[in-house]
Symmetry: C2
Subunit: 270 residues, 2 copies
DNA sequence: TTTTCTTTTTATCATTTTATTAATAACATA
DNA sequence: TATGTTATTAATAAAATGATAAAAAGAAAA
């Protein structure tokens, strides 16, 4: 019918195929300091995620991940970058594509497929003011063979949800996730959050991505806490130090005032 | 403006947002036997991918991955299942989402975002006849710090492409891939193939997915060959046997006729 | 029939890595 | 000055890994 690619494209009718909308959802993870900073209580580090309260339908007054529509003339990965720039003042943010969710009825408005991204940031680099409807939620995860329970709190509100996991194949560690309890999170965002936590848990073992969330100077105790929160288990001090010893450099700074032997501050070895 | 979610949805105008088309591309990997099966030459195992020759524009006469458009009323992951069913006669195929590619100009026709999937199958379960324009290509990969060269051949045709890799962040093992040589593959499919190989290379170490490509009975030498092809390096026999010893069961069957000590046949320990 | 060849399979030992326990160090407070 | 607390390191045991070599079993050649 056509004799060349040029000719074909000239006559191509793009309405031949069904069209849909795409959005992106961004899991922005960071590390927070515990609000209770008592005497003789370690400056506890917490793992947190940024959520936004919806002020319009659908899911009005529920919390969701920052996100938005992909523009027709915008590369897919430029959308999360644009939204991140809108939520923060930082430019060089660690960003990684997570998963694309595309169940037919995942959005009540219409058919929308959403590609989720995970961003890791050091909160200390943020200018203080967040967008008015955004808030950091500390993350607590309880996981066993069958379920993942996630508890989020920001000092005022609490969000809980539970996810059932069933092994997809005997040959993998892959699970099928299904939301079985959720009252305060919009869309399929519980799934996105859990996917991100799983990804991070997996990658913390063979990459250095965790340092994207750490401040410039930190103690090994703090770093170990972050590993422990994300992995959901306690680590032995000497083992942990062996593992990260070649990733960090000791500085001559010390963190005093803890009522005990002060710890040296370390930096990430670039 | 609206007093309830129902009311909002009733009046929702889905033409508010820009729409695009979505496709899926499926990397179907398997293991092939070497065509040269000489005396005293091990029955060599090769790693292969299924490609389809395009008979229409765009990219007429180029090779591409099996794929197609996502239907408006079809779950995202049902599309690759539908296409797999069309290409094979097998039902329970290992399928895993790989990555969503969404550069604005990745398709010359119009804006198309594509979610790629990786499928692993045991060729022995296929009925012999493939679709007429489909063909298995054996894969050879040469990788160093800066580049990945992939060489595909199906006995008749050869396809070569080269990809430059640059480290994205110092904190990860993540690379940015850029196609620098490619003459016979359509779209951004070189990127999809390389992403899949990297995923497989990574996952072979901590999952059992490789057994989805193995026949029911295999020798440890054959299994080791498959590991070696995918990892791109030689493994020591005793080390390999230690690693996989708890994943396989020895049967009382032997593979004789090799002019040397026969090897036992093993099965995957389900 | 015997020897040679090849590859499979197992054994052995050295080395490295990881796990566990315990000891020592340093600061803040009573 | 003694005590509590956490940081840091030392020391040892256990496990995993790496590397080499030896034994086993069949096919083919002498």
């Amino acid at each position: 019918m056509y004799n060349s690619e040029e000719e074909f494209l000239k006559h191509y009718d793009s309405s031949n195929f069904e069209k849909l909308s795409m959005t992106t959802d961004i899991l922005i993870f960071s590390i927070s300091d515990s609000p209770t900073n008592n005497y003789r209580k370690l400056n506890e580090k917490l793992f947190s995620v940024l959520l936004v309260k919806r002020d319009t339908y659908p899911f009005k007054d529920k919390w969701c991940l920052p996100g938005g529509f992909i523009k027709i003339d915008e590369d897919l990965e430029d959308a999360p970058k644009r939204i991140l720039a809108n939520e923060t003042n930082i430019h060089d943010i660690y960003l990684e594509q997570l998963y694309t969710f595309g169940a037919v009825n995942r959005d009540p408005r219409m058919r929308i497929v959403s590609t989720s991204y995970m961003a890791l940031i050091d909160k200390n680099r943020l200018s203080d003011k967040l967008n008015s409807n955004a808030s950091w939620f500390n993350i607590n995860v309880m996981e066993d063979e069958k379920e993942i329970s996630v508890y989020l709190e920001n000092g005022t509100e609490e969000i809980k949800f539970k996810i059932k996991k069933t092994l997809k194949e005997k040959t993998t560690d892959r699970y099928k996730f299904e939301v079985i309890e959720n009252d305060k999170l919009a869309f399929d965002h519980p799934l996105v959050i859990v996917s991100g936590i799983e990804r991070l848990k997996n990658k913390i073992g063979y990459t250095d991505i965790v340092f994207n969330m750490m401040p410039e100077y930190f103690t090994l105790g703090e770093l170990q806490q972050v590993y422990e929160i994300i992995l959901g288990k306690k680590l032995l001090d000497p083992a942990f130090r062996r593992i990260i010893s070649d990733k960090v450099v000791k500085t001559d700074k010390k963190q005093t005032g803890g009522g005990h032997r002060p710890s040296y501050l370390f930096k990430y070895k670039q």
